[in-house]
């Protein structure tokens, strides 16, 4: 299959996520569980043959959510709740879960469990002190309880073999997506940032076994793919949740820039780390979620004020030949707001110019275009003078 055809299928899943999930249920008769944060241990859900899908926004004014979350809560989490309140999930979602993460999604989850009819819901206590060895032990215990709860709910015991299968599905998906990202290092990447991230969005919305098949075909097709476009400035996009396709397209199609790498929980941060197998499977999964690239909310230590995410971002920037970074953040997203002033200094001190943008459910494209265009000019300013 043509790369473009495969990527279009990913985009279809993203655009028609509900239709996909309903169809999946029809085909498999399995259960579908929505999760609101990427700290949800999908391995265990796959082990139980449950389809985990990420709850994403609809990029529309979340006016149904206002009576439950007033204006100061992040527009993305309000948009997610709004989708639920609109009944978009009513006829197929079997369960909803949230993990200890930001306060904003907790609001959305709290309201969801009260007002959106969903048969099963689960609060998963994901520890915050991910750099403390204590967290790994605690998380393994939490996973055991989670596994038990699912067994009680589905009436099926989850064997070690099942868990191995779950881990394998997730790891394969992570490995394949990382291989696709490799192509973005090329001078003229055969895949745009918009396409690459759409691929990740699809992975969060569809059966990863099916996604893996698409990825394998994509990896075969990419070497021969030549895009008829000017790469322009090699950009990195960093920050909180981002599935704002119009913005990405504006930068890559209208302006002369290409996102060659991202650091989002709807992008690389989601799949960068694999589970390292060990005898105690749940412990292996626990280690993965403690050692993964952290959400800023969990990026702090027990010795000093260092962060682990910053060096990782810099490494990505260097590996992918980044000329400039666009730091985005959902309005009111504290975890990222708390890191951005430091991150900006860190990257600029390391020679990577940054520009900051605040996202909402719909971004004012007119306002943002001038900013990004000027930022691209700033990066290539020398060309105007020699």
């Amino acid at each position: 299959m043509e790369a473009s055809e495969i990527l279009k299928q990913c985009n279809d899943v993203w655009e028609l996520r509900h239709e996909y999930a309903k169809d999946w249920k029809r085909r498999t008769g399995g259960k579908v569980v929505g999760y609101m944060c990427t700290y949800a241990p999908e391995e265990v859900l796959y082990a139980a043959d449950i389809l985990p899908i990420r709850i994403l926004g609809g990029h529309e004014a979340p006016s149904l959510a206002t009576p439950h979350m007033f204006d100061m809560w992040c527009p993305f989490s309000r948009d997610c709740l709004n989708q639920g309140l609109k009944g978009k999930y009513n006829d197929y979602l079997d369960g909803i879960m949230e993990t200890n993460a930001c306060l904003h999604m907790r609001q959305a989850f709290g309201a969801w469990t009260i007002h959106v009819p969903t048969p099963w819901n689960y609060w998963f206590v994901m520890p915050n002190a991910v750099r403390s060895p204590r967290a790994k032990t605690f998380l393994a215990g939490e996973l055991a309880e989670f596994k038990k709860a699912i067994e009680e709910w589905t009436g099926k015991t989850i064997t070690d073999k099942d868990v191995d299968r779950g881990i394998d599905i997730m790891n394969t998906n992570r490995r394949l997506m990382k291989q696709v990202y490799e192509f973005r290092k090329e001078d003229n990447p055969p895949i745009t940032g918009t396409e690459a991230m759409t691929m990740v969005w699809a992975s969060q919305l569809m059966d990863k076994r099916e996604h893996n098949d698409l990825l394998k075909q994509l990896l075969e097709a990419l070497p021969d793919r030549k895009l008829d476009r000017n790469t322009g400035v090699r950009l990195m996009i960093v920050g909180s949740e981002n599935d704002d396709r119009p913005f990405m397209e504006m930068v890559e199609d209208v302006l002369e820039g290409t996102f060659v790498i991202d650091e989002h929980c709807t992008g690389s941060r989601y799949f960068w780390n694999e589970v390292v197998p060990e005898k105690d499977r749940l412990q292996a999964i626990a280690n993965r979620y403690c050692d993964r690239v952290p959400c800023p909310n969990k990026d702090w230590g027990m010795e000093d004020c260092t962060r682990t995410r910053f060096p990782h971002i810099l490494q990505l920037a260097q590996d992918y030949g980044v000329q400039g970074a666009i730091l985005i953040q959902q309005k009111f997203c504290d975890p990222h707001e708390l890191d951005i002033p430091s991150l900006r200094r860190y990257l600029e001190d390391n020679g990577i110019p940054c520009y900051f943008l605040e996202f909402e459910v719909t971004v004012p494209l007119g306002q943002f275009r001038i900013r990004v265009e000027a930022f691209l000019e700033q990066i290539r300013a020398e060309e105007l003078f020699v």
């Binding site: 009576p67 907790r106 309201a111 206590v125 000093d304 953040q329």
Partner: protein, 439 residues
């Protein structure tokens, strides 16, 4: 002529004195060869306070609030944080006051910013660990930093596994302290501090429980200035004594003699979250209608420990004496500390879901006989403002009239006093049908 007799608190002056001494001690600590550490109001201060020799802390939220109560200073600090440091304007208002204070190298209680010897934080909301992580950066990046994770689950889900998670961290914390300061943690002091922590937390709860009386012996505006001590150094004898031996007996006496906080009490209001500190005058405004704010999950359990009894009632958490416990060793002390904090602090329950907050707060509304609720939709603190709109719905479902107003506990740029009073007029006169009783 007022309905009830009323008078100020005898222990008021003592409370003020303890507070000012606290901020002075931190400032002068180094001159006296004492150690200085920064941490949150909810951190396990029993540990660093158990280090050998003299040790003083600066808790970040009360500091941010002190600044917030002075709009001119607050705006200057926050604009420094937003301008010079470049942080978002919608972050926690206390945090911006705190960062701005460091950026300007200005200690609100006089002199330059007193840099800490170490940081001993605990992570409650999205901001806490990051708050002092950045503070440490601003202070030069070389301040030893330790932070607890207490997000182990809601009070009703706390078992051995959850307690162990925190106890293990407490042991790590002690190692960190001894490594970072070169001083030893004394078990004798530690045990003493844990006992004090229990006294502070349990006796504050007992005091709040007395507010179920009609007329209420205390109004929230006054309680704000009383629980604050527990957010400073809950593990010291001075403060534990204040709660157990001064405040509690006095309030008990007020109830016995029907001494009211507000003489014209005719409508008992339930509150939520911190008020706009610079504008406590809105409470005086309510008093003109005989309306008195007497209860809130926030005021009760920010430092108070509680539990839900068999009848589903909210009652103060038992003291060590009531549990018949005398602490023998370090391990027992640490376990009791973790247990009380995880099980007793109902304020944490909302972090695990709207249902928890609704359940607890509707109980409070009933037990404390509230006639209405006035909720401050607090843009300044996401932690305490969680699920406020859900709470509004839950309270209205129990037929309690509810008014909300948007504001910010410590960013006067986000609070409109005149406008808020306009809403209060509307709510009090139209919805509650009250008339002014005083001018």
């Amino acid at each position: 002529m007022a309905k009830y007799k009323t008078k100020g608190l005898d222990c008021w002056g003592r409370a003020k004195e303890l507070r000012m001494k606290y901020y002075q001690d931190y400032k002068e600590a180094h001159d006296r060869g004492a150690l200085r550490w920064e941490g949150g109001a909810w951190t396990f201060d029993a540990l660093p306070q158990a280090l050998e020799g003299e040790v003083h802390s600066l808790t970040e939220e009360p500091y941010g609030a002190s600044v917030g109560a002075n709009p001119e200073v607050q705006v200057r600090y926050q604009e420094a944080a937003e301008g010079k440091w470049g942080c978002a304007r919608d972050l926690c208002a206390y945090l911006r006051n705190y960062w701005g204070s460091i950026v300007l190298d200005e200690y609100f209680f006089g002199g330059k910013w007193p840099k800490a010897d170490f940081i001993f934080q605990n992570h409650i909301c999205c901001a806490h660990a990051k708050w002092l992580q950045v503070a440490a950066e601003l202070e030069g990046g070389d301040v030893p930093f330790f932070c607890f994770d207490v997000g182990a689950g809601a009070y009703d889900k706390i078992g051995e596994r959850q307690i162990n998670y925190v106890v293990e961290q407490l042991y790590d914390g002690i190692e960190f302290l001894e490594r970072a300061t070169g001083r030893k943690v004394s078990d004798e002091k530690l045990i003493q501090n844990v006992q004090n922590t229990y006294r502070s937390a349990c006796y504050w709860a007992k005091t709040c429980e007395l507010n179920q009386a009609i007329p209420a012996p205390l109004d929230e505006k006054t309680m704000f200035s009383l629980y604050v001590l527990g957010t400073l150094e809950k593990s010291t004898s001075a403060i534990a004594d204040f709660y157990e031996k001064e405040l509690y007996p006095e309030v008990k006496d007020r109830v016995a003699n029907k001494i009211a906080a507000v003489g014209d009490e005719q409508c008992r209001v339930l509150g939520d979250t911190q008020p706009p500190w610079g504008f406590l005058s809105i409470f005086r405004y309510l008093e003109k209608y005989g309306v008195v704010s007497i209860a809130s999950l926030y005021t009760f359990s920010l430092i108070g420990w509680w539990e839900i009894d068999e009848q589903g009632k909210i009652v103060p958490y038992p003291t060590l004496e009531e549990q018949g416990i005398t602490i023998k060793d370090r391990d027992q002390a640490l376990r009791l500390l973790a247990e009380g904090e995880l099980k007793g602090k109902l304020m944490w329950a909302p972090f695990y879901g709207a249902k928890y907050k609704n359940d607890i707060v509707t109980k409070i509304a009933k037990q404390w006989k509230c006639d209405a609720a006035i909720l401050h939709l607090n843009r300044g603190c996401e932690g305490t403002a969680q699920h406020q709109m859900e709470l509004k719905i839950a309270l209205q479902n129990m037929k309690l009239p509810v008014m909300t107003f948007e504001g910010n506990m410590a960013d006067e740029r986000e609070f409109d006093e005149a406008r808020t009073k306009r809403f209060m007029d509307l709510f009090l006169t139209e919805t509650l049908g009250l008339k002014k009783v005083a001018d």
